[in-house]
Symmetry: C2
Subunit: 245 residues, 2 copies
């Protein structure tokens, strides 16, 4: 199992850092290969614009998807973007490790997706999306630390259900490009738990990353379940298979 | 009506640019004041870390919220962050103008929220959140361009319902800090509509920004509707007032 961890936390000694190191050590000890993109340590620039490309399709009007399609044909992605794409194609499993900031990924990780997940057929496009996506057959998982305790993120919780909050990431990013999405690994209310509980979470996380190949996944509908306007054919599926709503 | 527009698109001549210019001209012509933060034009750096502060609480371990709380007390926010905070306190209405990228804000705008919406009592914290938030009494709206047509973003659409996709922004960012959230202004499938339809959208947008004070808002529960564990007291409210699920 080749695992690619994209890590988005500014403090190396944070619990996010401990989780990524625990994963790396457990996987390596079991004979697996691991590659880590530590975005803060790399000084990754998350702003998506002409810096994504070495090629230029239209110097006067910047259409991002058109530039992406042109770069895909002419091998024109900037070296930092191409390197991340190569890691995605190399891996069997992708982990996004991040603290939940403002109900989503820290901007440095959101921008990693904005820049690296390019259209034009390289990462998606031309009918390659969802279960027909480029990364179909690979697995992906979010590992997330969350400030508040579980009740506030429950179905009737003040902040809204965590499944709904992670839907744009799990469904909209990971499943969109073809990954089979593993149930997220969540650590809640980190500031309020004991050192012993932290060790317990690290142990659970080691077990989770060693079982990525058969960990429970989120069941989403397939493209064949939708009609020509991309609306579900069967009402039944909404309630049976769909995570949010 | 003092309006603050935060604009997150890399191409000045894009339709996002046209929408922001239309808003600016319509509001100015009607005698209103407008301030625009054009994040790409400003070269805004969306990466949240020690660059947010002129003060340092702990030089050895970076806890973002603790540094924010310290900066709030000692007036230690970096000048670029303080300037954005000042605009938020100045305005009566906030508009976030952006293209939907990967089911969320472009990283440059996500990072604007990560950095500017600081805890420690300046923007939130100490019981100041949701309807008791710092910006209670002010209004906010997302104006969003979306690649796909409406059916794919409907309740049973392939990409998921747009209300759910925007929930982390409308509820999680805007309502969290106290804004009354106006129904989003959405322009779908821009690449497939005619110039005439674009003009129609610009006209509709001019009308919308001129009516911000009484435009329809999203009804969310209030803090008083939740119990001590932040779970809704009444099951009834879930179905009556809550946008997603």
């Amino acid at each position: 199992m080749r695992t690619f961890i994209v890590h988005g936390h500014p403090e190396p000694n944070s619990f996010n850092g401990a989780l990524t190191r625990a994963a790396e050590q457990a996987l390596a000890a079991a004979g697996h290969e691991v590659v880590i993109s530590d975005l803060y340590a790399m000084g990754f620039n998350p702003v998506s614009d002409r810096r994504n490309f070495t090629t230029v399709l239209d110097a006067h009007y910047y259409r991002q998807q058109a530039e992406e399609a042109n770069a895909a044909v002419h091998d024109g992605f900037a070296p930092d973007i191409q390197a991340e794409m190569d890691k995605l194609f190399w891996c069997d499993a992708l982990i996004l490790q991040f603290p939940l900031w403002w109900f989503g990924q820290p901007a440095i990780l959101k921008g990693w997706v904005d820049r690296v997940f390019a259209s034009g057929g390289r990462i998606y496009g031309g009918g390659k999306w969802y279960d027909r996506g480029v990364f179909s057959g690979k697995r992906a998982m979010c590992s997330v630390t969350i400030g508040g305790p579980p009740p506030i993120y429950s179905d009737r919780g003040l902040n809204g259900p965590i499944d709904s909050i992670l839907f744009p990431i799990n469904h909209g990013m990971l499943y969109f490009v073809g990954f089979t999405v593993i149930e997220p690994f969540l650590v809640h209310a980190l500031a309020r738990i004991s050192d012993g509980e932290r060790q317990l979470f690290l142990n659970r996380y080691r077990e989770r990353v060693l079982s990525l190949a058969h960990a429970p996944t989120i069941v989403y509908p397939k493209l064949a379940d939708f009609d020509a306007t991309h609306v579900l054919k069967s009402r039944f599926l909404v309630h049976q298979d769909r995570a949010p709503r």
